[in-house]
């Protein structure tokens, strides 16, 4: 692929970076990334990945845009209230960069559809807000050996990690099972500073681009924790667990399953 004059202009600040260059920009254009959730994290992550020129960007969400989302979910607007979130984000990302093939998947991800949804993608971004889906995405990515860039937020604190199956720990190495329903409050119950998912989603997009380019140190084996109030970034090492139920030596979890519904109420 040769760059058009428009692309030379659009990606000029990438092309002059030694770590990117024309070669790296072509890698970005050839990459296929799937984002689960067009919410607080998926909006900024997808926005920057679209701006960067990621060739194929799929967004999975079956919710519709509500007014209470607009405090942080920056791909949506009053013009897309009541529109499916994946569709709303697709319109925004396409308006930003027509080079990107944006695919809106208007489904709720579950144990039956996840493998087929993620199979054709190079990197998966987790921007979900509940533990059952987080664990489901982790398990599916381990099974298909897909790099996963995971993010989470609550109140004034957020965390990011890159899960590279076979090379580093997975989510279950850290916490084997999700916490019981009700133990960890949701953003709905506890609130979240609107800009916080912007910081974490942008970090997720950064890690995705580094993985595509093969440059720098991937955020594997560590959880990066951002405390907005204390203005602090901490990197906590996560060891790989040989007895991990999904990525250990003798995995017990060999099939995907959906957790009971009550988890989804968080």
């Amino acid at each position: 692929m040769e760059f058009t004059e428009e692309q030379l202009k659009r990606y000029s600040r990438h092309i002059i970076l030694p770590e990117v260059g024309g070669k790296g920009q072509k890698k970005i254009s050839g990459a296929k990334v799937l984002i689960v959730g067009a919410g607080g994290l998926g909006c900024p992550a997808g926005y920057y990945l679209a701006a960067a020129g990621v060739g194929t960007l799929a967004i999975v969400d079956n919710d519709t845009v509500e007014l209470s989302n607009l405090q942080r979910q920056i791909a949506h607007s009053v013009k897309t209230l009541n529109v499916n979130k994946a569709e709303s984000a697709k319109q925004t990302f396409e308006a930003l960069n027509p080079d990107v093939n944006v695919i809106a998947v208007k489904e709720r991800i579950n144990s039956r559809n996840i493998l087929n949804l993620i199979r054709d993608y190079d990197i998966i971004v987790d921007g979900t807000d509940n533990f059952p889906t987080r664990y489901l995405i982790n398990d599916a990515c381990v099974m298909l050996r897909k790099p996963l860039v995971s993010g989470a937020i609550l109140r004034f604190e957020g965390q990011v990690t890159a899960i590279l199956p076979g090379e580093g720990p997975c989510y279950r190495c850290l916490f084997e099972e999700p916490p019981p329903p009700g133990l960890v409050p949701s953003c709905q119950e506890a609130g979240v500073l609107g800009v916080l998912p912007g910081v974490i989603g942008a970090l997720q997009a950064t890690e995705v681009l580094k993985l595509i380019l093969g440059k720098g140190l991937p955020l594997k084996g560590s959880l990066l924790i951002y405390d907005a109030l204390g203005v602090n970034f901490r990197k906590v090492k996560i060891p790989r667990n040989d007895n991990c139920p999904v990525c250990g030596k003798n995995p017990r979890i060999k099939e995907l399953s959906d957790l009971p519904e009550e988890y989804c109420s968080i």
Binding site: F3, L8, K9, S12, R13, I15, I16, P18, G21, G22, K23
Partner: protein, 82 residues
């Protein structure tokens, strides 16, 4: 100096910064390590900024020459992989 073999010629007359650098960088990416690219340009600032940027990328600047009141040629030898 006349016996330097030029492997690629690049004409970026009419281009301004940063596209002078964007096109020069892509030009260098398109040749092999050890090969030489000769760039002709007419944006005065680029006559200084391109050699500087190429040194930063790790390449050698063989020649910078003002060939007439408005045009320069810059010869770069690619020294490192992209």
């Amino acid at each position: 100096m006349g016996d330097i073999k030029i492997d690629k010629h690049l004409d970026i007359r009419g281009e301004v910064c940063p596209y002078t650098l964007v096109k020069s960088k892509l030009g260098v990416e398109s040749i092999e390590v050890g090969q030489v690219i000769e760039i002709i340009l007419d944006y005065p600032e680029a006559a200084e900024s391109i050699p500087k940027a190429m040194l930063n990328y790790g390449h050698s600047v063989i020649k910078v020459e003002k060939i007439n009141p408005k045009e320069w040629i810059v010869q770069i030898r690619k020294e490192v992989e992209d």
